[in-house]
Symmetry: C2
Subunit: 475 residues, 2 copies
Amino acid sequence: MTRVTTVKRWDRQTDVVVVGSGLAGLAAAIEARIAGSDVLVLEKMKGYGGNSAISDGVMAAAGTALQRRAGIVDSADRMAEDMRRAGLGLNQADLVHTVAQRSVEAFRWTIDFLGMTYQKRVDQFGGHSVPRCYTPLRRSGSQYIRPMLDKAAQLGAAIRTRTCLETIVRDTDGRVCGVAVRQGRSTSDAGPGERVWIRARRAVVLATGGFANDIAFRTAQDPRLSAAVGSTNKTCTTAEALREAMRIGAMPVHLSWIQLGPWACPDEKMYGVGPDFASYVAFPYGILVNPDTGRRIVNELADRKTRADAILAVGHPCISMTDQNGVVHSGHEIGHCLRRGVVQSFESLEALAAYYDMPRDAFLDTVRAFNQGAAKREDGLFGKPILAGAGPLETPPFYAMRTFPKVHHTMGGVLIDTRARVLDLQRAPIEGLYAAGEVAGGIHGACRLGSCAITDCLVFGRIAGQNAGRTVLPR
Amino acid sequence: MTRVTTVKRWDRQTDVVVVGSGLAGLAAAIEARIAGSDVLVLEKMKGYGGNSAISDGVMAAAGTALQRRAGIVDSADRMAEDMRRAGLGLNQADLVHTVAQRSVEAFRWTIDFLGMTYQKRVDQFGGHSVPRCYTPLRRSGSQYIRPMLDKAAQLGAAIRTRTCLETIVRDTDGRVCGVAVRQGRSTSDAGPGERVWIRARRAVVLATGGFANDIAFRTAQDPRLSAAVGSTNKTCTTAEALREAMRIGAMPVHLSWIQLGPWACPDEKMYGVGPDFASYVAFPYGILVNPDTGRRIVNELADRKTRADAILAVGHPCISMTDQNGVVHSGHEIGHCLRRGVVQSFESLEALAAYYDMPRDAFLDTVRAFNQGAAKREDGLFGKPILAGAGPLETPPFYAMRTFPKVHHTMGGVLIDTRARVLDLQRAPIEGLYAAGEVAGGIHGACRLGSCAITDCLVFGRIAGQNAGRTVLPR
């Protein structure tokens, strides 16, 4: 059996085709151009930046000057160890180390090369053993996208929007030599678009993101994640490019490890404002109850997976709630959550129970039991650590939000090596094919730590671009 | 881009090709033959039965007469619920229900059709909520293989050994229409063998087992499982057929969920006798310590994954141990473990510590702390339930075994539907291709329960054979 690629005519030629214009894609495009290659970036949506643009933009780096000034002792080894602990050891060690070791260089690159500015503080997100998370001056992934688009344009990289990858084309030796795309078609478009064949003389870089919004693909891996479960992502995060890479023999890894945010609200789209309430106010300073029973279901400060699994097991949204005292102690504003109607306020616990159609006595019992435990700083039910100021829940107004997990990040993807080359089912590189960002797998294992995705995208995006841009032209 | 299958000449033709002669393969061959198809079974090894032959042969079925006589209330729904709880909800619900609903029929089939006999007792293995596990009169998977081989032969199914699948061949419509094999080649053979093209007029059934012994493939999914980690499986459990199914576009699921037995001994091959000591004697009636520190590392009665992960995190074998009292209370014989040199006996705790080069005082401290807790029936360190008769560890001889996890079962594989058809990356059936047994994925999710693999193999093996055998001949 042989495979024959029948490309009658290339409509267009370039050295490096980059698929996706998010963080990883633009980093790859910039580096490939610097390496001297002609570059064409393909973006299926109308706008640039993919899902990266709506990320919070917080980036992890280990061993920065900012840390040293704050007296924080950190190292690449320590960051890699944190990532592997979260990843349950499923991470490929060399990939994790590459991200950690190059994190400072990537962080400096965003400042020195892209001209970005960060807030002065260093945060410690969950799972990190020291503070090493840096927030752009405006807290958004778009803060990276804009200067990267400018740099890519200055360097002469071409970008084409509304152009969706259809086929990865290989020559008779199995080497990736181009792509077939549909122009004028994005995921959300109905029309078929015009098919265009684009030759990639040196390489194709996949930087197509995750598959959080691909219901068919994600439910194959985790059937709990039906269409009833929302996503924090833009709708563009579908699996067509990942499928296409798998179709030509890329090794998939960790596809069933799909990260859910347990702090999301089903009454708004994407990430929204609900997490500001659930994550920072209700979970630490209140409780999460099943409205069917009026009972708590989990340690509200357990890890993301434990909490999300508990709510999914209930099968419908639960109610996260706290009182005025909890809001004050949290130090967070929730006015924007109330204005958007995501969080509701109630003058009494009874009114709250009635609104969500909860069995009143059971709910009042639950609050009473929590309050009694909180007074002794213990949670007899789930062993949740009781923070200072958490409980008693008795000071009106009471605040509540319907709470249901949303798909946040897909750890799985095609396996790459430290040069960002896509590996096949024998773990040999597929010549001419690179991948970076969320479409690549093996870096985060079972669980990606917050702030490590930006680092991953920049580090492996740049590596992919450097190697793709220098790929020796095949004879 | 098109794919052309260039088969110059079919060397042999049949209706249904079954790849693999374990439980699932033979069940498929028998049913396909009964459905009226010509059948050819291909087995890469010299002998029949694959890894099934060395299984313990214990089978789960929900709602049997044996259960009713013992007053055990059970149902298919209950069995499915147990399987899904263990599988962390990653199991495809329709596949789990198919296994559970057809479990009694499959069990009856082994008795009425195969003529098998089971021990009179009904056991309750870990994770099952009621006793529903049946042990063949002789506790071995070979008890199924022999009558199935006889039946297959009587029915006129042909079987060819030392014949290894190389390529799944599809026609220009993408329909699976045959295979290319190497004759005279099994995994363990060095020679290239003779390539033979076999046409399958109706269908190909993959029943090729798991990939517990495929180091390259399993370390892509879980890098902790290097060659230093043994396997309870026969060496034949490699991934070449799974890779080939993925190469032609089958949807892989749950590949990174690999079940480890925490009760294994690295000083013997495969399953061995070590688990008889660790699982039934040392874990319930003793402790597991890290020889570097002399300290316990985990609740010795936690689930398999927790215990295996804890030992893997230590990175080298730990020591499971108990005393004479523990052996007596366990009610188990360990003479065979001693005779094989897998378990060692010592006249004192000091001698045991010296033999394994453990820090003596720390180890004695550990034993003392465990004994003190055991006297109060509590384990202050890991909350292990203290059984009656567990501790104090003070009665010589003391018994110990080097303990390190072995790869036991690979939950992942190609996604099938309830008709055992292999699904592609869009979740559409790949025409002409079926799968059953460990190579199929989606049934057990994150964790297979003991005794459910036999049921799975028989249920889906038979379904695959029935459907393959009745597949309408393509025009």
